[in-house]
Symmetry: C2
Subunit: 403 residues, 2 copies
């Protein structure tokens, strides 16, 4: 278990994270497999998409199926049929965002399960125990994800809790193959962020995450925070920006030196009908695409774009067929994973800055001619359908001649 930084192109970094379940090339995007499954996907899909590492949510897995069942299966890898690397979060984020009747205590949080109201306690010790049982390759410290906005006092107090819990986590025993990542907090306050980064850097952990971002702050605040934090983190350790983000945010974060990302966006918005494409986000469910027989993304070579049209995927989405959500998810994950691959290629070839400019220019250009053409075609289609209805009605309402 180690991280190797191969090279830099500007601040963008090319690396490899070695784990006992295989190598992860960085920069990397990690699809989110909440309860041990990337929503609508199976592990065969994820292999086909060549996802190098996925994320599992400790909170969700602890509630269902529970540790006893995962223990019996062996570990999370075996339970979900995935033998590539897994990163587990600490459960902290969900405890604060999902659980009910939370009571913050010195050594953790007491809460009621959002599933059945059961009273549960998770603190740093418990989180490490659970993640040890899950057998994930990367284990996150149990932190408090400071909400946004927070006053300086709140952010400071919250950071103190995270630091105390982080110390406690570092004392717990993990499996030899597991790597513990610290989490930088401190809200949008420069001195707190820097203090947090330095505190963690001193702990000499195998990796560092930047948490408490993508929680509602403006994008510029997020990027500014990266500018404060990243220079404080050791060069030879991977940097993971938690819960981020849109495709342009990934590119901008890589430009600042981030190596790892996870985000529910590509899978979540897919289920609501939004596709990521080389020319920006497209709401495929929109009526204007109902007779667009081209692919979701003209520049994409995924199996969905090769086999299915916008019109068909739109039809599946609007008839509530699960397969519509699945095809959308497959495409979006392919887009994200291929984006990271292109980023890695660009860094390797010392042309990341060029790639970055090209990417943004294309991504912002929108649907252009394709949209204009569809608006016209839709008007024509509406007219045809109306004419046909009228003709049928006329035919049916004319009095029948008896033979």
């Amino acid at each position: 278990m180690s991280f190797t930084l191969h090279k830099k192109d500007g601040e963008a970094r090319l690396g490899t994270l070695k784990t006992s379940h295989g190598d992860v090339p960085t920069p990397i995007f990690m699809p989110v497999g909440t309860v041990g499954s990337v929503k609508t996907m199976d592990s065969e899909d994820m292999m086909e998409l060549d996802a190098k590492i996925i994320l599992g949510n400790t909170y969700h897995l602890y509630l269902r199926p529970g540790l006893r069942i995962i223990d019996e299966a062996g570990d999370l890898h075996k339970f979900i049929n995935w033998d590539r690397p897994i990163l587990t979060d600490s459960g902290g984020y969900q405890v604060f965002s999902l659980a009910k009747l939370r009571k913050l205590k010195y050594d953790g949080v007491e809460f009621r399960s959002h599933i059945d109201g059961e009273k549960i306690f998770i603190g740093p010790k418990e989180s490490m125990e659970i993640q040890k049982s899950l057998g994930s390759d990367i284990v996150m410290i149990f932190d408090e994800c400071t909400p946004y906005p927070a006053t300086y006092e709140q952010a400071k107090e919250s950071l103190e809790i995270t630091q105390r819990w982080g110390d406690e986590c570092a004392k717990q025993e993990l499996h030899p193959h597991q790597m513990l990542f610290g989490i930088v907090q401190g809200s949008t306050y420069e001195d707190l962020r820097i203090e947090s980064a330095r505190y963690l850097a001193d702990m000499d952990l195998p990796g560092y995450a930047i948490g408490g971002l993508s929680v509602g702050e403006p994008e510029e605040e997020m990027l500014k925070t990266l500018d404060w934090v990243l220079p404080e983190l050791p060069e030879d350790k991977p940097r993971y920006l938690m819960g981020v983000g849109t495709p342009p945010q990934l590119v901008e974060s890589v430009a600042r030196g981030v190596d790892m990302f996870d985000c529910v966006l590509p899978t979540r918005v897919a289920r609501h009908g939004t596709a990521y494409t080389s020319s920006g986000q497209v709401q495929i469910k929109a009526s204007k695409w109902r007779n667009d027989f081209g692919p979701i993304d003209d520049e994409c070579d995924c199996k969905v774009c090769k086999g299915y049209s916008r019109a068909y995927v739109r039809h599946l989405l609007s008839t509530n067929e699960f397969s519509g959500m699945r095809l959308m998810t497959y495409h979006n994950l392919h887009f994200y994973l291929r984006l990271m691959e292109r980023i890695r290629e660009a860094i390797a070839e010392d042309r990341f800055e060029e790639f970055r400019q090209d990417f943004h220019a294309k991504y912002q250009r929108g649907q252009g001619e394709r949209e204009e053409r569809q608006v016209k075609r839709n008007k024509a289609l509406d007219k045809e359908i109306l004419d046909e209805k009228r003709a049928r009605k006329k035919m049916r309402t004319q009095p029948k001649k008896k033979d």
Copy 2:
């Protein structure tokens, strides 16, 4: 477009239905692709499962996406990315079971769409026009599916409508590649069923379906009806039993001379957590399987059974992950398609009767030892979980010693 009967083993028949989209070996099961998609599956899945032919529902496709869009795509095959054969039903069944405010008229049915209440008329002419547009390989006559139970008078009247509409359908022009199948009705009355079969046989159609079964009648009534009808149908034409059925019903129907089946059971019950296995139906969602790490079916070689455990699939189902429904659907379709393949092999090797006995004996034996073992393991698991909770609670409620 033709049907070849290769051989018989008892009354069980081995044949090939040639279509312009490829050959269909019979006996065959046709998965139901309601709105142009077998629920939770995509066309790649259906190729992987080696489905030889699928069914599309005229009523659903007519409402959404509508003919204009399918026309623009070319035909249904092109719209849904499936170039193997498609059978379309006539829309009659859904008009009678789903549509609102139906008015039965001499030349069809006026009704309101179950989607948006739009007033629509479908009769034999319209159904043929729609199926011609869809471009399916097998087109069904527009019939009235007689409800069960029906009095003799009701059944007779309903049959007359079906015959009148059938005559009208036969007059309509289809594409040269399309085969029109007649539908035998007559409820559970021997003379009506025989009359219907003979009437259709005289029409010399490319194929014949037996309709109005699997609509609530006892299984023995269904099999008795087959015994009346099948001898009246020409040997050299395919016989299709509509909407049937369970695995044992498929075997018993083949034994009586049926060649083709369609049914929503394998896909529908999958989404509710029920698997078909070589030893009968299993409710995978049941709590007792939560720590069974064996496959859904010990004798199945599908990718779901090779890759995933009952415990994991149960976990996905109980956390409402779509992928749980999808894995279940994949397995059930594999079971049905493989069952038909085994039936064809048995007929080819003149051992269908032996196969039939073996199949029923195994299918009825149930989960046996596996279930007993799980009941014990579940009790042990319950105890472990309870002990652990108590221990955690005790640990947390003991007063902390201050350092």
